[in-house]
């Protein structure tokens, strides 16, 4: 553990104690906790960073693509890694909100944000120039590369984000295999995927209500695509609602050499400390509760004790 316990140099301004009493207004640029400046933490694998919003695009009625300028010293990330965002500097909502990295370039950090409650709303409403406090890079495991083989990605809802990061990362690394994305959503309003068409060999889209694309869930769609030989692959990657990932594992995974999935769970610390985000795994020496944040987020889907995972 010695290596991880390096001293983090921190200095504080006298006015820091007034953070909580700054008028309690939601002011762009003042949302950031002023005690946090990422550049002080350069060179460590995770840290707290003040990140400036550089873009906010509407992708669908509920979904936004938020671009942050990559803070100085922000660590590199791999597919499956995530960040945790403090959406304002007061305590409602209380906890940081975890988001998969949709892309990380030399200059930008991209998140795909669906509005489901107060935290995601504040993040989705961020204006260019706003600053937010981001903890990252978080996560203990990442998606293993397909190493040249054909890969199938299944992204349900915003589970699309880590699929895009994986496809982009591996393309940049010169991976030559085909990549197929099946993206499912409840309705056409929630369907994304057109903006990332160039990241995959081919993108297939489905809606539960049949309002756009294939009429049905992403798992049935994948089954039919495999059955009529439209696509094939040896590596399966997924992220999405637990029900979708479970169905993938139980119904389709035997057609692939491996199935890795990035799980979501409600999180508090994001670093393995609080033990709040556990998932039951079947391991050689019996069942174990593992932390999604630090033992995942990426797991071999065949290890998850699905009967106890919602």
């Amino acid at each position: 553990m010695g290596a991880c316990l390096q001293t983090v140099p921190v200095s504080f301004r006298a006015e820091d104690r007034y953070d909580q009493s700054l008028g309690r207004l939601f002011l762009p640029g003042s949302m950031i906790d002023r005690g946090v400046e990422g550049d002080r933490l350069a060179g460590i694998e995770k840290g707290l960073f003040s990140a400036e919003v550089a873009g906010n695009e509407k992708l669908s009625p509920a979904c936004r693509l938020i671009r942050f300028a990559r803070p100085e010293g922000f660590p590199d990330a791999k597919p499956g890694h995530f960040v945790s965002v403090r959406v304002n500097s007061f305590s409602v909502p209380l906890l940081r909100r975890p988001y998969s990295i949709m892309d990380l370039t030399e200059t930008e950090l991209l998140l795909l944000v669906k509005v489901v409650g107060p935290g995601s709303r504040l993040l989705a409403e961020a204006a260019v120039g706003d600053r937010m406090d981001i903890a990252g890079v978080l996560g203990g495991t990442v998606f293993p590369s397909p190493a040249g083989e054909d890969a199938v990605f299944v992204g349900g809802g915003t589970g699309l984000a880590p699929m895009i990061f994986a496809a982009r990362t591996w393309k940049r690394e010169g991976n030559t295999g085909n990549s197929y994305l099946i993206h499912g959503a409840a309705t056409s309003e929630e369907l994304l995927g057109t903006f990332c068409e160039s990241d995959f060999t081919k993108v297939f889209r489905s809606t539960m209500d049949g309002s756009e694309g294939y009429d049905g869930d992403a798992v049935s769609y994948l089954q039919s695509l495999l059955n009529d030989d439209t696509i094939s692959g040896s590596k399966l990657y997924s992220c999405g609602p637990a029900g979708m990932v479970k169905a993938l594992e139980l119904k389709v995974s035997t057609r692939f050499d491996s199935h890795y999935t990035s799980l979501e769970a409600v999180m508090a610390c994001g670093v393995g400390a609080c033990r709040g985000c556990t998932v039951p795994l079947r391991e050689e020496d019996g069942r174990k509760l593992r932390a999604v944040c630090s033992d995942g987020t990426v797991f071999d889907a065949s290890q998850i004790a699905w009967e106890d995972w919602e």
Binding site: L5, D19, A273, C274
Partner: protein, 300 residues
């Protein structure tokens, strides 16, 4: 408030550079937070409560945010005495971090074995007895709501861990937390920590069932600050040993209020999740302006 030089605090015979600690639980064994918090700068860190045997903790949902608070049902998941004393504790000490070792028992037998293990570990000069966890069936709050049990557990710790300071951490889920504090003091406790989480629950309206498998969970965070402050005020008026204030600290000002209520030290729990540098900000303030004097002259 005067800008005095030292902000050292002494509990039992044990001296700390400053009176700002991490509370047991949210920050785990400390190491997990090393990239976010300057752990060496803290007065100390109360390690995640350890039981003699490793504990897997509770199944199902473990966290639920509330308005200004957090419900948790972690259920004392921990690595057990062997790994804790063999790996986690030496790691902290090697890195110049000041641990306060939190101990809990599921039953009397487990408690005795845990204390023997702690006594054998040698390097421990201070422990906090978690007599107050609401998220387990045995031990925890079941012990900590009964003054007789408190005195039995505290007394045994003082016997076995001679020369070690013993802090009793109390639950607010009782009619009069002052009575519990008095029982701990009379049994020889060197200090009191108050409070542990407050019992609460939530319901999933779509699934039409309680959010937590155990139904009840422990509430922490800013929502409980006034309750914790009152508990500290009351305990300070009841006992002569130092009181450590914990519960809902969300700002430097909240910490100052605990000192004004008569606390000798404070612990930060839930806030570490969203404002990891808060303990360091509190220390900076105390270094600059000193520890505020108690305004508590009774009236409990």
């Amino acid at each position: 408030m005067s800008a005095s030089g030292s902000i050292k605090v002494t509990i039992g015979d044990v001296s700390f550079d400053n009176p700002v600690f991490l509370a047991s639980g949210p920050a785990g064994y400390g190491e997990e937070y090393a990239d976010f918090v300057d752990l060496q700068r803290l007065g100390g860190i109360v390690t995640k409560t350890v039981t003699y045997e490793p504990k897997a903790g509770n199944p199902g949902t473990r966290l639920q945010e509330t308005r200004g608070g957090l419900l948790n049902s972690v259920g004392l998941e921990n690595v057990g005495a062997g790994v804790f004393f063999g790996e986690k504790l030496p790691g902290l000490l090697d890195n110049g971090i000041r641990p306060i070792v939190s101990l809990a028992a599921e039953d009397w037998d487990g408690y005795r074995r845990l204390l023997d293990a702690a006594a054998g570990a040698g390097e421990i000069d201070i422990v906090e007895l978690n007599l107050s966890c609401p998220n387990v069936d045995r031990g925890g709050m079941a012990v900590g709501t009964d003054p007789r049990m408190i005195s039995r557990y505290v007394g045994h710790a003082k016997d076995i861990l001679s020369g070690t300071a013993v802090i009793a951490k109390l639950t607010p889920n009782v009619q009069d937390i002052g009575r519990l504090a008095l029982a701990a003091e009379e049994a020889g406790a060197d200090a009191i920590t108050a409070i542990n989480t407050i019992v609460g629950m939530d319901i999933d309206i779509h699934a039409k069932r309680p959010v937590f498998k155990r139904i009840r969970a422990g509430l922490s965070g800013p929502a409980i600050f006034p309750v914790a402050l009152e508990a500290v005020w009351r305990i300070v008026n009841t006992v002569d040993i130092p009181v450590i204030g914990v519960g809902g600290i969300d700002s430097v000002d909240d910490a100052l209020k605990f000192f004004m209520a008569g606390a000798a030290a404070v612990q930060v729990g839930t806030a570490i999740f969203y404002d990891s540098r808060l303990p360091e900000k509190i220390i900076t303030e105390l270094e600059k302006n000193g520890i505020p004097a108690s305004i508590n002259r009774g009236g409990a």
